[in-house]
Amino acid sequence: MTTLNELTLAEARDGLKAKDFSASELTQAHLDAMEKARGLNAYVLETPERALTMANVADTKIAHGEARPLEGIPLGIKDLFCTHGVATTAGSKILEGFQPHYESAVTHNLWRDGAVMLGKLNLDEFAMGSSNETSAYGDTISPWRRQENGKLSDAKLVPGGSSGGSAAAVAAHLCLGATATDTGGSIRQPAAFTGTVGIKPTYGRCSRWGTVAYASSLDQAGPIARTVRDCAILLGSMAGADARDTTCADLPVPDFEAAVSRGVKGLTIGIPKEYRVDGMSAEVQALWDRGAAMLKDAGATVREISLPHTPYALPAYYIVAPAEASSNLARYDGVRYGLRVPGKDIAGMYENTRAAGFGREVKRRIMIGTYVLSAGYYDAYYVRAQKIRTLIKRDFEAAYASGIDAILTPATPSAAFGLGEKGSGDPVEMYLQDVFTITVNMAGLPGLSVPAGLDAQGLPLGLQLIGRPFDEETLFAAAQVIETAAGRTKLPAAWWA
C-alpha cells in the first residue's frame, strides 16, 4: 500500500472526502517522514504542533460536511512567505528571529481554503541563487542521486534554487505540495531538477503582499507539486485579487483544475529557434524533440518561431534584478527588525549590520545594483536594460499575434549538478542556469516546468511551457499531455530515510 505521504494532492483530497483516512493521520504521516529526512535539510523550521492543530480543525470540518477546497492538505511553505507568529528568515542571517505579525496574502489564501502548514522550507538567501547553496541555514540536498554502473552514486546533488527546499520536500514526499517564488527561474529550475511540476504564473496573478521582496517587477509566487493537476489545484487557491498589492491583477481566478484535461487539439505550439543554444547537450535536444512530438500526437500543430532578443534576457536581468534588490534590501538596516551590529556611529551600525547579516551572493547583487543605479551609470545600464526588456516582451507579443498559443522549450540546460560544482570562481557560471527561464520573468508571462524524462545518469529533465498573459489554463492542458505521455518520474529509493 502507498503510504499516505506518497499520495498525490488530488488523491489525498479525494481520500479525505471519502473518509478513507483522517487529516490528522495524513499530517502525522508527513511529520514522520520529515523527521526521517532531516538530512536533506529541506525544512528550516518544522511546525508540528500547528500542523496537528490545523489538521484537527480540518477533521471537524470534514465530519460536519463543511470541507473547504484544500481541507486537511499538508503543505510546506517557502521561508520567503511571512507567516503570522512563525519565524520567517528568507534564508538570511539578517532576519534571524523575525516573527511577522501578519500573514502573506498567498499563505492566508491557503489557510482560508483549509490547508495545513507543516513548516518553513529552505531557500537561497533572499531567493538569490540557483542551487540552494547561498542559504544561511545550510545547503538543501536533493533526494535524487546519479545512477553509476547500475547503482546509486553517493555524490550529493543540488535541488536547484532558489526554491530548493520546496522542490526537495515535494520530491521526497515531505509535503503534498509547496509554495515557491520565481524571479528568474526559481520555481521552474528546481522543479526540473527534482522531477516535480512547478508553475510561475503571470505577473500579477498572485499577490506579492507579505512575501519578502527580491526584485519587485519580476517576483511571482507559484506552487511546486508532484503532478500537473496538483499544481493547478494549488494555484487556484494561491491566486486572486488583492488591493494591498498595486500590481496584483483584479481578475477572477479561473478553474485551473478543469483546464488540466482540456487537451491540446487545435492549439499551435511554438518552438523558438534561439533556445537552441551553443553547447546544448544532445540529451536535452532529444527531450525537447520528444516533447514536441507528444504535443503533436495529441493534436497540436508545432511550428518553429523566432524570439530574436532571447540572448539579451540574461544580461539584462543581471542589471534589472540587482537594481531592484539593492533598493528593496535597503530596509535591512538593524533598526526595525533582525540583526544589529553596533558601529562607531549610525552609518557604522548600518554597515556592520549589513556586512555581518548578508551572505556573499546577496552582497554582490546589492553592490551591482548600487553601481548600475549610481550617478553617471543609470542611463547606460538600467535604462538600456529596461528598453531591452521592452524588446523581449515584443518578441513574445509578435509570436502570440501570429497564432501561437504556447511555447515549448527545455527548462534547464542540463540535469542537476553536484554540490559546490558551479559558480565558485565566476558567479556568471551559476547565472547561466536560468538561460531558458529568465525571458519569461522579463516579459511577465506564465511559465510551467514539467518532467519529461530522465538523462543517461537517471536524473530528471524538464520541459518548459510558456503561455500568453493570464492564460495558465493552456499551460496546464499542454503539461498534462506531456505528463501523460512521458509518465511521472519516480525516485529510485528513499536513501535518506
Partner: protein
C-alpha cells in the same frame, strides 16, 4: 566598463556594507565578471524603444487617501533590536 578597487570601496559605502581590505580584490573580480557579462547589451539597437515601466498593461491601483490601518505600535516594534516607549532606538545622530 570595469571597476577599480577605489570604486569597489565607494559602491560598498553607498550600499552601506562594510568591506574589509581583504575582501576588496575578490569583490572587484566578481563584479567585473558580471559587468563584462552584461557588456553585450551594448550591441542591441535601442533607438526609439521605450523603457519598460510596467510588465503588464494595467493602470496603477489607487485608493482613497484615508487611514485604513494602524493602532498596533506594539506589534510594529516587537521585532526591533532596541526600542523604548514604542520608538525605535538608534545611535545618536545629532550632537
Amino acid at each position: 566598463m570595469s571597476v577599480d578597487a577605489t570604486t569597489v570601496r565607494r559602491i560598498a559605502h553607498l550600499a552601506r556594507i562594510a568591506v574589509g581590505e581583504d575582501e576588496v580584490a575578490p569583490l572587484q573580480g566578481e563584479l567585473n565578471a558580471i559587468l563584462a557579462f552584461v557588456e553585450q547589451l551594448g550591441a542591441v539597437d535601442v533607438t526609439g524603444v521605450e523603457p519598460m515601466t510596467s510588465v503588464t498593461p494595467m493602470a496603477m491601483k489607487k485608493r482613497v487617501d484615508a487611514v485604513t490601518d494602524g493602532g498596533y505600535a506594539g506589534d510594529i516594534v516587537s521585532n526591533a533590536p532596541e526600542t523604548e516607549d514604542h520608538y525605535f532606538l538608534v545611535p545618536k545622530v545629532v550632537e
